[in-house]
Symmetry: D2
C-alpha cells in the first residue's frame, strides 16, 4: 500500500486528516504548553544552544496537543522530526495538522486502518535514501519491531534471495508488516541495516516494550542503546501510580459511562498500585474491598478501614473488579466472571495481560462479544444472558494514554523524561557512555524534570546548608 504523501510549501512531507484544522490545533497546543511546564523550561534552558542541531528524531507516540509540545521542544532545540502515532485511534487531528503545517513531518490521523497504521510508522522512520533517524522516541515497540523484522528479512534475502512471505504467518499484524518490508526490499535491500547503523539510541516509555528490550539485552540481540524512561521516578510516582487517579475512576467513567459512587469495588492486590487505586475509588464514593495473599499488605488495608476478603466472597455482589496484582495469571477466571452480576465491570490496572483470563473468556462456548467502544466490550454468556463488561480487552487500562492525556502533569513528566533521555543519548553519542544496553534514566535528569515543574507550581525547594550536612 502506498498512500499519497503531501508536502507543505516548504517541502516537508505529511499526511493528516484535514489541514484546515491547523489553526485550532495551534490554539490547543498553546493551551497545552501552559501545562507542560517541564518541556517549556527545557526549551528555555537549552533553546539558544541548539543542542539537538543536526539530530533526526523519529517519534512513535500518540499525536495529541501534549505530544505536539514535545515535538516542538525537539525542533526548538534544533532537531529535525518525523512523527507517527502509537495508536490508530488516539490522534487528535487538529494537533496533527498544526504540527504538520508548522514543525515536523507528521503521518497520523484518527481511525487509521491497520495497513495505514504501519504505513505511517514506515513513513516516520524514512529520511529517504540517506537512511533513518538518529534517535527514536518510543511508546510501545512497533517502530522498533519494524526495524528488527526488516533487518531479519534483509539478512535472509541476502543469503537465500527469498523475499518475506506474509502468508507464512497467521498473525494479521505481522502479515502487514512483512508486506511492507517485502515491498520495499527490492528497492533497497539494505535499508533497515542502514537505519540500524545510524541509530544512536531509543528512549522507551512503556512497560511491555521495556520488558522486551531487556529480554533482547539478555539474549545479546539488542542492537542499540535504550534509555528506559518508564521506570524513572517521576514516571513511576506520577504516571504509573498517581496516574491511577485519572486512570482508575475517571477511566471507568469514560470507558463505561458508569458512576463509581455507591458501587462496591473489589481491588485485587494491595501493593503500590492497589493502594492508589483503592484510595482513588474510595474518594470517588465506592465501597472498596481488597483481596490479598500477603498478610502484611492485608493488615495495611484493614488499618485503612478496608475489608479484606476473598474474591469468592464478593464475586457475585460487587460492581467493579480492578486487578492490580503483578506476577500472577488468572486472578480473575471465567468462572469468576460467570458468577458476577450482570454488567459488572472487570479491568486490569496491572502490567500483566494474563491477570484476567481473556483466552478462557474468548473460548467459552457460545460466549457473545458486544463491542461498545475502543476500550469496552460486553461479554454475554449464552445460558444466563448475563454479561460482564471488560475494559481494554483485559490489558492495562492505560486510559490516560488512550484518550490523549487527561493527567497533564503525568504527560508533562513522561514527555520531559523522553526529552531528557534524547538529549542525553545525543550529547553522549560519541563518548561511548551508552552501549547496546537498556539504561535507567540518570537520577539527576529525573530530578531535573521534577524541579522543572516546581517553579511553575509555585513551590520553593529548601537548600541544604553546610551545617545541615555536617
Amino acid at each position: 500500500m502506498a498512500l499519497p504523501v503531501e508536502r507543505t510549501a516548504t517541502g516537508r512531507e505529511y499526511k493528516v486528516k484535514d489541514m484546515l484544522q491547523a489553526d485550532f490545533g495551534r490554539l490547543e497546543i498553546e493551551l497545552a504548553e501552559d501545562q507542560m511546564a517541564a518541556l517549556m523550561s527545557c526549551r528555555f534552558e537549552f533553546g539558544t544552544s541548539q543542542p539537538l542541531k543536526g539530530a533526526r528524531i523519529a517519534g512513535y507516540l500518540h499525536m495529541t496537543p501534549q505530544t505536539a509540545v514535545l515535538i516542538e521542544t525537539f525542533t526548538a532545540l534544533g532537531a529535525e522530526v518525523r512523527w507517527c502515532s502509537s495508536n490508530a485511534f488516539s490522534t487528535q487531528d487538529h494537533a496533527a495538522a498544526a504540527i504538520a503545517r508548522d514543525s515536523a513531518a507528521v503521518f497520523a490521523w484518527k481511525g487509521e486502518t491497520p495497513q495505514e497504521y504501519w504505513w505511517c510508522i514506515e513513513r516516520a522512520l524514512d529520511w529517504g535514501p540517506g537512511g533513518g533517524p538518529d534517535l527514536i522516541v518510543g511508546d510501545g515497540g512497533d517502530a522498533i519491531l519494524l526495524i528488527l523484522e526488516g533487518i531479519k528479512a534483509e539478512e535472509t534475502y541476502e543469503i537465500t534471495g527469498n523475499l518475506p512471505d506474509p502468508a507464512s504467518t497467521k498473525n494479521p499484524e505481522l502479515q502487514i508488516l512483512l508486506t511492507i518490508i517485502r515491498d520495499g526490499l527490492e528497492t533497497d535491500p539494505k535499508r533497515y541495516h542502514k537505519m540500524k547503523e545510524r541509530l544512536v539510541g531509543v528512549s522507551e516509555a512503556t512497560a511491555t516494550a521495556v520488558e522486551r528490550l531487556y529480554g533482547m539485552q539478555a539474549d545479546g540481540t539488542l542492537l542499540f542503546p535504550v534509555i528506559n524512561v518508564n521506570d524513572s521516578v517521576t514516571e513511576t510516582k506520577f504516571q504509573n501510580s498517581c496516574g491511577c487517579r485519572p486512570c482508575g475512576p475517571d477511566g471507568l467513567l469514560m470507558a463505561a459511562d458508569v458512576e463509581i459512587a455507591g458501587k462496591v469495588a473489589v481491588v485485587c492486590g494491595y501493593g503500590d498500585v492497589g493502594k492508589d487505586c483503592a484510595t482513588a475509588l474510595k474518594k470517588s464514593g465506592a465501597c472498596v474491598i481488597v483481596t490479598e495473599i500477603d498478610p502484611i499488605r492485608a493488615l495495611q488495608a484493614l488499618m485503612e478501614g478496608i475489608l479484606v476478603l476473598t474474591l469468592e466472597d464478593v464475586v457475585s455482589e460487587a460492581d467493579i473488579f480492578a486487578v492490580t496484582a503483578g506476577g500472577s495469571k488468572g486472578i480473575i477466571t471465567v468462572d469468576h466472571m460467570r458468577k458476577m452480576k450482570n454488567n459488572a465491570i472487570v479491568c486490569n490496572i496491572g502490567p500483566f495481560n494474563n491477570a484476567i483470563d481473556m483466552s478462557g473468556l474468548e473460548t467459552f462456548p457460545g460466549v457473545k462479544r458486544v463491542t461498545f467502544n475502543l476500550r469496552t466490550d460486553r461479554w454475554v454468556f449464552p445460558d444466563t444472558e448475563s454479561g460482564v463488561i471488560v475494559l481494554a480487552e483485559g490489558r492495562l487500562v492505560n486510559l490516560a494514554r488512550a484518550t490523549g492525556h487527561p493527567s497533564l502533569t503525568t504527560a508533562s513528566c513522561s514527555f520531559a523524561n523522553h526529552a531528557m533521555a534524547q538529549l542525553e543519548l545525543w550529547m553522549e553519542r560519541d563518548t561511548g557512555k551508552y552501549e547496546k544496553k537498556v539504561y535507567a534514566l540518570p537520577k539527576h535528569l529525573d530530578e531535573k524534570v521534577a524541579a522543572y515543574h516546581l517553579g511553575k507550581l509555585g513551590a520553593k525547594l529548601t537548600k541544604l546548608s553546610k551545617e545541615h550536612t555536617d
Copy 2:
C-alpha cells in the same frame, strides 16, 4: 423552515441523524438501564397497571441513552411520547436513532442550527390537528416559551389581524421563534390555545426555568400546574451538590483538559456548594483557598485546614477560580481577571449568571475571544496578551448535563423525579389537587426515588418498630 419528516414502518414520525446507528444505540441504552435503577424499578412497579395509558407526553431534554431510559419508562407505562433535545449539541445520535426506531417520535440530532433546534421543539409538541401533549417534561423553558409566545401572537392576531413580525426584535432566537409561529398562524389560528387547554401539567428540572415559572405564578400568568423537580431532595443532594464531583474537577478536566493536582484553586463562597466543591478539588490534589464574607462559614473552612483569604490576596497566584456564592453579582470582576495568571480558569458553580462579570469582560476594549469548544473560551486582553479561560460563558458549569450525564445516579434521581412528577400530575388530573401553580415534588415521591436506588445498590433500610417511636 420545513424539514422533511420521516416515518417508521409503523408510521411514527422522526428526524434523526442516522437510523443505521439504532442497533448501537440500543446497546448503550441497555447498559444505561443498568445504571438507572429508579426508572427500572418504576417500570417494574407500574408496568402492568399501565397508569399512563392514554397520556401524551412531550419531552424537551437532552436526547442521550439515559434519557432514552426515561422515554421508554413512559412508553412502558402506556404513554405516547414525542421528544426533542434541550440543547443543540447534546444529542447522542445513536440513542436518538434507537428511540425513533423502537419507541417514540424523536426530533433531535447533534449540531442542530438554531432554526433546526426550534423546528424540533415545534415537532415534539405537535400531535396534529387534535392538539398538543397532555404533559411536558421540561429541562429549561424553551418548549414552554414557544407555547406562551404562540398564545400571545394568536391573541394579537385575533384582535388586530396582525401576524407577528420577526423583524420587530433584535434577539435572534426570538426572531426564529416568531417566524415559526407566524408561518403556522394562518393554518390554525388557535393551535397554541388548544395546546394550553389540553395541557395537564409540566415537570421542570432547571433552576432558571423554575425561577421564571415562579415569577409567572406571582404575576398570575402561569397557565398550567408545574411540579418543580429541581428542588426535590434527591435532586439537590445528588444533582446540585454531589453533582459538584463530576461537575467540578471532572468538568474542569473535560472542558479545559487541565489537571487539578498541584494547582491552587480558589473557591469563592463556602456554603453547601462551596464545601462540596472545595472537598472535590482537595481530593483531586488542589491546594484550595476559600473566600468568604460570613465569619462562621470562614471559621468552618479554617477548621478543615483551608486558608481563608480575600480574592485580592490570591488573584494573581491561583490557577483556578470557582465561584459558588449565591445572591451577589460581580464576585469576579474584569479587574480581577486582568490580574490573573495567563490561562487561569474561571468558572461559575453557582446559580447566578452575573457572579462573573461577563458583560464587563465582553465589552472590555480590544478583548479577544477564542473559542475552544462549547464550554471553553479564552479571553485575551489586548495590552498584556495574557488571557483567562472562562468556562460555560460564565454561567453554571452544569457540565454533567451538557455532556450527557456522567454522573448516572444523578441522572437517575433527576429523571426518576420527572417520572414521579408526570405520574402524579396525570393521576391527579381530574381531582383538582394541582392548580395553576408551581409545586414541590411531594416528599413521599422524593423518598420513593431514593428508596428505588437502595435495593439496586445493596442497601437495607432499618424499619422503625412501635417501640422506637413511642
Copy 3:
C-alpha cells in the same frame, strides 16, 4: 455539712485542693489563653470600658485552665466572680488554685463527694446576706435546680412552717440538696427568693438543661431570662458537630484505650452528627457501616461508599456501635447487646439518653457491671460470660467536656458564647429586652465569636461592596 472556707490575703473566699499548685496553674492558663482567641479578643475590645463593672457572676462549669480564661475575662471586664465545677471529677486543681489566688472565689477540686459537690454549688451562689449573683453561667442545670428547690421549700415553710424532709425522697442527690436547703432555711427563710429577685439572667450551654428550661417556659414556671448558647451556630457547628472529632474517635481512645483502625464501626443514623461521626471514624481507619430509616439519608451514605445495613445484619460482627439517631428510644436494645462480640463498645453520640436501653441492661437478670473508669463500664452477661463496654452510662459521650476540653476551638467558641450572652444580659438588664423566656444567642453575637477567631487563625474575610449587593 459545713466545710471550712479559706480566704486569700485580700479576703476572697475559696476552697481548693492545694494552693501550692497555683503557679503551675498560672502557666497552663497562660498557655490556654493562646488558644482561647475569642475571649482574649473580647478582653481587648471591652477591657477598658469595664462593661461588667458591678456585676456578680456565679459560674457552674468545669474548673479547667480554659474555664480560667473565661473567668478572668469576666473579671477583666469588671465583674466579681464566684465559681464551682459542673462535674465532681473534672476540676484541674492547679487551675482552680491559680484562679482562687488571683481572680475569683473558687470552690472546686477533683474528686468531690456528692455532699461536697452540692456544698460547692451553694458556696458559688452565696454572696452573703446581700443576696446572690446577678448572672449565672450554666453548664447543666444543678445550680438552677438548687435555687428552684430552695424557693419551693421557702414557700412551703412560709405557709406550713414545715422544713423540707430529705427522707421524703429516695433520690440520693435530692436528699443532699434538701438537706442543704433545710439547714439554711431557719437562718434566712427568704434566701432563695432574694436570689431570684436579683438574678438578671442565665446563659446555659447544655442540651438537656436547655430542654428543661424550655419546658419551664412552656409551663410558665421560668423565673428569669435565659440565653441558650447551646444552639448558637458556633456552638453547634464546632461543639456539637465538629466536636465529634475529639468526641468520637479520640473519646473512644481515651475512654476505652481502643484503637479504631481496622475495626468495624456501626453508626446508627446518618444525620448531621452521624455524618461527622462516620467521617471521623473513617479517617481513623475504621470500616464504617451505617443504619438508617430514611431512604434519602441512606442513599447519601451509599454515595460516600458506606454500606447501609440493619443493626441485625452486623450486630454480631462489629466492634464499635455509635448511636447518633435522635428522637427514638431503644435503638440499641439488650437483645442487640447480648448478640455483640465480647468487649464490643457501645456509645451514644446523640442527645437522647434512652437511645441505648440502659434500664433494660441494668435490670437484666444476673448482669454484672465492672467499672473501669468514670466513663467506661463493662457489662457481663451471666450465661455467656461475654460482655459489652458501655461508655458514659449510655448518655452522650460528651467526653470533650469531661476531660476538660481537648478541642480548644470548641471550648473557645462555647465559652465566648457564654461571655457574649452574659454581656448582653447585663447590658440589657434595664431595657426589658429579655423577659422570663429562653432566647437564642443573637445572631450578630454568634458571628462576632466566629470573627474573633479568624484573626488569630490568620484568615481574612471578604467584605461585600455595594456593587455586590445591588
Copy 4:
C-alpha cells in the same frame, strides 16, 4: 541504694506501688487481651507445647496492661519472667500490681527516681547467684548498658583491683550506674560475666538501641545475638509510620493540649514519615505546608495539594513545626525559633535528636525554660518574652510509647514481634543459627504476626493456587 524487695505468697519477688490495685489491673489486662490479637493467637498456638519451658526472660519495657499481655504470653509458654520499665514515668501501677501478684517478678512504679530506675533494672536482671536471664526483651539499651559496663568494671577490677569510681564522670546517669556496679562488685566480681555467658540473645525494638548494637557488631564488641524487631515490616508499617497517627496529632493534643484544626502546620521533610504526618495533620484539620530539599518529593507533596515552601517563608506564621527529616542536623535552629509566633509548637518526629538545635536553645543567653509536663517545655527568650513550646526535649515524640500504647495494633505488632524473636532465639539456641550479630526478624515470623491479626479483624486472605503461580 538497696530498697526492700517484697514477696508474694509463693515467694516471687516484686516491688510495685500498691498491691491493692491488682484487681483493677487484672480488669484492664483482660480488656487489653482483646486488643492484642497476635499475642493471644500465639498463646493459643504454642501454649500446650510449652516451648519456653526453662527459659528465663528479663524484660525492660514500659509496664502497662499491654505489656502485661506480653509477659503473660511468655509465662503461658513456660518461661520464668522478671520485669522492669524502660521509662521512669510510664508504669501503670495497677498493671504492675496484677502481674506481680499473678505472673512475674515486677520492679516498676510510676515516678521512679533515677536511682530507683536503675535499681529496678538491676533487680530485673538478677536471678540470684545462679546468674541472669537467658533472654532479654529490650526497649532502649539501658539493661544492656548495665551488663556491658558491669563487664568492663569487672575486667578492670580483675586486673587492677580498682573499683569503678562514680566521680570519674559528670554524666549523672552513669554515676548511678557505676555506683550500682561498684556496690555489687565485691560481693560477686564475676556477676556480669556470668550473665553474659548465660545470655542466649536479645530482642530489641528501639531505633537508637539497634543503631548502637550495629555499631558494636561493626567494632566486634557485640557479645550476644540480637534480633532487631524495630525494622520488621509489621513494626515499620504500623509502629513507625502508621504510628504517626496517634503520635502526631493525638500526641500534640495530649502533650500540649492544643487543637490542630485551623492551625498552620509545617512538616519538614516529605519522606515516608513526613507523608504520614502530613496526612494525619490534614485529617485533623490543619493547613499543612511542607519543606523539602528533594525535587521529586516536593512534587509529590504539591500533587497532593500541599504547598511547598522554605522554613524561612513560613517560620513566623505557622503554629506547629514537625521535623521528620532524617540525616540532617539543625533543621530547626535557634534563629528559626526566635522568629516563631509566641507558643508555636516544635517537635521532632524523626529519629535524629539533633534535628532541632536543642543545645543552641539551652545555651541561648538568658533563655528561660518552663516545664509543663514530662513532654512539654516552654522556652522563653529574654528580650521578646515570647516563647516556643518544645515537645519531648526535641527528641522523637514517641508519645505512643510514653503514654502506654494508644495505638494498640501498633503495640500488638511490636510486642508479638518480641515474642516471635524470643521464641526463635530460644528454639535455635543450640543450633548455632544465631551468632553474635544483629539479625533482622525472619520474614516468615514477621508475616506470622500480621496474619495473627487478620482473623481477629475478620479478614480473609487469598491463597495462591498452582495455576496462579505457573
